[in-house]
Every structure is written in C-alpha cells, then in structure tokens.
Symmetry: C2
Subunit: 393 residues, 2 copies
Amino acid sequence: MNDFVFHTPTKVVFGKGTEDQVGALVKEQGGTKVLVHFGGSSAKKSGLLDRVCASLEQAGIPYVTLGGVVPNPLLSLVYQGIDLCKKEGVDFILAVGGGSVIDSSKAIGYGLANDFDVWDLFDRKNTATGCAPIGAVLTIAAAGSEMSDSTVITKDEGMLKRGYNSSYCRCRFAVMDPELTYTLPAYQTASGVTDIMMHILERYLVKEETMEVTDTMAEAVLRAVRKYGAILRDDPKNYKARAEIMWAGSLAHNGLLNCGGPVGDWASHQIEMELSGMFGVAHGAGLAAVWGSWARYVLDEKPERFAQLAHNVCGVADSGDARADALKGIENMEDFFRSIHMPTNIRELGIDPLTEEQIEELAEKCTYFGQRTVGRFKVLQKEDLKAIYRMAR
Amino acid sequence: MNDFVFHTPTKVVFGKGTEDQVGALVKEQGGTKVLVHFGGSSAKKSGLLDRVCASLEQAGIPYVTLGGVVPNPLLSLVYQGIDLCKKEGVDFILAVGGGSVIDSSKAIGYGLANDFDVWDLFDRKNTATGCAPIGAVLTIAAAGSEMSDSTVITKDEGMLKRGYNSSYCRCRFAVMDPELTYTLPAYQTASGVTDIMMHILERYLVKEETMEVTDTMAEAVLRAVRKYGAILRDDPKNYKARAEIMWAGSLAHNGLLNCGGPVGDWASHQIEMELSGMFGVAHGAGLAAVWGSWARYVLDEKPERFAQLAHNVCGVADSGDARADALKGIENMEDFFRSIHMPTNIRELGIDPLTEEQIEELAEKCTYFGQRTVGRFKVLQKEDLKAIYRMAR
C-alpha cells in the first residue's frame, strides 16, 4: 500500500438550478473581475450563458467573455485568454462548459500566475508556482476536470496534445446541475460515460497492492456508471441517471479512487490522446476503441487483477481460471461499450484504414519521440504501442 | 434525490512517519504561533509529542502546549485553551490525538474567532462566523473529526453533551499515520471500528431516496470496515488493516457518504450521547449497545432499507421477505459487534441496572427538555426514547 496525499478543496454545489448561485460563489472566493470562458453556441442558445451572466451582474461582479473553445482545446485560444485577462484585469476565471472549457481555463490561469510561456508546462520545460482561481459550471459529465488537478491542451502547430498536473489548478467551486446535460447528443453522453469509466479503470488496473476501501468503492462506482449509462441511452432526460453519472464523473477523477494505490496505468489515455490529437475524435469514443486491445495486450502481466474486475463489476462468475475470467470481463466491457453505441475499434471511429505510416507516427508521438515509455501495468515501448494500434484498427 | 454541497478542503497526508511533516504543513497554512493540544500521557510516553514539537521547531514555528483533554472533552478546558491562545498570540491550533482532542481544538478555534461565549454555539444561542485554523495528527481511527464539520463538547456543569456543525471548523490538514494506532487498547480499537460503522449507518439508514453511487460506496466501506476490524482483533499491528480502518474513518464522516441523500437519522448518536454524558462510556461501545434496539424499534418504517443493508453488507440472502431479512441483518450486525468484543446492550457497558429514574432523565435530556424530537427514520418522542433505552438495558 502506498502513502498518499488526498486534497480535494473544490466546493461542489450540486442540484437543479445551482447555476444561479454562480455570482455568490465567485464573491465568496473574492473574485472582482471575471472572465466567462465557454465553447460553441450551445451555451448561448440554451440560455445558460445569459443566466450565468445575470447571476454575476446580480452579485455586482463585472465580467468579460471569451468563447470558442473546441474539443481538444487549443493553445492559441489560451494565449488569447491570457492577453484578454491581463488587459481587463481579470482575477477569476469562470469556465462554462465541459472538460475542454475547464482545461482551457486552467491553462489561462497558469498563464496568468506564471511569468513564462504557458506551453513550457506542457512541454516539461518548467513547473507552475500557482494558478489564477477558477470556478466551473459543468455542462457535460465526462472529463472530471471540475475536481481534478489535470489539464490537457493541444498545440495548434503539429496538433501536439499534452497534459500537465498540479494542485494549483483545482477549481475553487464546481456548479453541477444534471439538467444542463439533458440536451447533449447521445454520442457525447456515451463518450462521457466511457471517459468516466476509463478514469476509474486507469487507476484500478494496476499490479501493485491497493487499498480495499478504494478498490471496492471504485467497483461500486463502475457498476453504477454502467447501470445509469445504459438508462441514459434510452431515457436521456432521466434526472436520477444524469445525476448519478455527473457525480460519478467527478469522483472518478478527483483522486479518491486511487488513494493508497499507485498512480495508475494511463496507457489507454496516452494511446487515445495521440489518436484524438491526429484525428480529432471524441476522447471517450477513442478510449472505447482502444481499451480492449490494450487490455488483451497487457493482461498476462497480472490476469488476477482483470479477473477481479470481471467478477466484481462485469458479473462474470469465478471459474477458478483467472485468465479465462479476465478475458470474459474484457469482452463484457466491450459488449457494454457497444450497447451504448461506442466503437470498440479504430475503424468504427471512422478512421479506415489506419495506415502503417500513421501507426508509426502515432507510436512515435506517444513516446514523446523516444523520450518516455507508456503505462505501468506493462511498460510499453514504441513497438508495443504499434502492436496495440494494429490490434485496435 | 437531494441537492447537496460537498466540500472537504482538508489536505490528508497519509502514511508512515507523516507526523514529521507537521512543521512544514503548519507553515504552508501560514501559522506563526501554535497551540499543541493533546490528551493524556500516551502522546508523551510514545514520543509522538516530542516528534511533533521537533518538527515545529525545525520549521522555526514557536508553540505552547495544553494537555489534559479527556474523552467527552470538557468545556472548562476549552475555556482554558481560549485564554491561553489569546495570551500567547496563537494563530494555529494543532490537535495531537483523536476525536476528543480535535473537537476540543475546534471549540477553542471557535472561541478565538467569535466574540461571544463559545458554549452559546452548542446551546443554539448563536452561530459561528469563523474558526481559527486547525490541523490534526490523528492517533485513533474513530470519530472522523479530522475531516468532519462537527464538534461535540460536554459542559462540566450537569455533564451536558452537545454538538455544533459548521464548515468553518474543518481541519486545514490531517496527518494520518496508521502506525500511531498500533498501541491502542483493543477495546478502544473496537469502539473506533464501531463508531466508524455507525457514522455510515446513520447516513445510510434513511427512508428518502438516495443516490446509488453513494449507497454502494457506503456498503463497500462498511464491508471493508467489518473485514479489517475483525483482523485487528487478532492482529493489532497489521499495517494494512490499520490503514484501511483509518481511511474508512475519515470517509465515513467527511460528507462523501451522504451526497444526494438526506442528512441522515442520527438517533443512535443522540441516544448514546446522553449515555456517555451521564456515565462516561466509550462512544463507540455505547453506540453498539443501543443500535440494535433502535433498529428493531424503527425497522417497520421501511423494512426494505434494512433488508438492503442485510443483503449488501451482512451477507444475508434475499428471501423475498424484507422484514425477515432486515431482522437477520440486525442480528448479523450485533453478532459482528460481539465478535469484536463490543456490548450489544447497556448492561454490558457496566451500567446494571439502568433505573427507570435514569431512563426518564436520559430521555428528557435527549429531547433537550422537550425542545426537540430525535431521529428521522422514525421521529422519536420522549416516550419512544424511553422505550428504546428500556429495550437496550
């Protein structure tokens, strides 16, 4: 069992209509000038942006707005945000959106609090000593960025997608109204469900000793996400299901579910990150497309761990043969992904065929051009990554 | 499902030897003069107090000490602590101990930050607007005060035991080294295990709709606490078991396990609180002594909920008869308490006999002299309380 630090200072305000509390929450945090940061037109069309701005106005807090965040948020907009905040004297960033908007906000926050090029963080050339305060109004349950310490940004030039983790960027508050997710396209809902499951699986599928309290809570959340994910496929305006998934999304990535265990594997995330960097696929869908191939490739390092997943989450009876049960569990997981209309290979992502040249480039980028290995359950070299991309195509 | 606010800002630093980080942690929080608050002689004898003070000295932080906290911590010592802190210019309180020491520290913190008699909080005459910052070095897994928003203090005069809850008092950090609990007497370990289970059960045994993510995590933690509680009975220096129980103790009471549900029942706690106020019994043992009687008394309000506990935690097979399964679950819980040498009635607490006059007084005090009802699963009046005390004696 590992020592650990658990620190989730984000104040979660969860429930119907909670977005109307935004002004009061910013005030509580001492914000005096806000950047309202958002994505496309849906936040405008739905009226959410108006309500958030009205809440700020009611609290007497001036603001400026910056929209245009895209999935796999771009460094160029982060630079724009930093410039705007400096010019306008912004001291609080309010993210209205999902993981991309929150990550873009975090990167702007890093840019404001550190006097070097913010990309240096993602490029491993520097470390942060702070981050401007951020709050979030969540509109999709998926990335878990509203409580996490992680940020992922894509550099426009070369579409390099890189992450940076530190406690400084954790949101001061997260407003979570499950009703805001009612109108998401089914594909996005399912991608989010997958992303949530993968955040848990990356932490859970490890070889080292773990904490039982953590393991069994992870299994409990995984079971609930599968159950309510399936319900949402048929009943997207089911409040209970939306709420269960939304809260699970935060728990999956706030650190709770790897207390006492190692840092996790994260190879599936790295493998997918290159795919979505190159092809712009939805992150959750990309994860569903590669996970089964990764799992079968690394399984033999410790079949018992995959068997535990099979028994406690996938409903596979214990046959006494860990490897056989593990394989049944992986199949069951893929069956679940298919049941919510997620792909289980790269072809189903619309990338057909993935060429050998592309595989070479993906694997090369994934190792940071030979500077690192990937994953921990099995430590993957470039040739391993190529094998997994081939299995998954 | 209820709306909720989840806010656990406490930074948990968990693992072997983490008490040596105390000086750095106080510094991180901006503390410049510390009150080291503790209980009896064990913290001195074990050398823990010396190590904590050495860590403060190494960080260049001056401190004063105040020992003498007793189980069911007394208001008189809280007043002493407030006076000492004011005289010495203390701006950070470091609790070295268990729930009693942390609660005493919280009450001192309230006293420093509010300009009225601190007992007014517990007497419902006033509300807090702040609390001086507190850190904890935990020495027993039980009360969960290291991450909770609650404080329980006993007024010497009349031995009135009262609680007060607010977010202001949450610890800035909690240092948790499972090895510090190796030398606890077996009875205290078992009382702690019971207290932890009861913190979960009070939240779990409710009639209203709950969140499934929360329910199933609660069940997971309960199963783990039973498993590792039993291991500690025979193997008190088992690091994994100590760690599982210690972390479970924080999760049980930090708010995680009632997200989306109602506030909980808390009748068993109120019923026990009067017992320990009058007879000074160990809180966990007192809870074990009364819980079964409470459960049988209220069960018929919603047998299905007790049956869920029986099925998912106690290993009772679903017979289709919720009431029968519920009763089996309650019996199984009592069997567990007996297996770790906890009492399941008041006589086994050494109170024999509990007289009718005492029952009258306990019930009277428990309703705050007729000013309140107790519990929510079934709302209990004075006569209900008397019936439960009689069943439990």
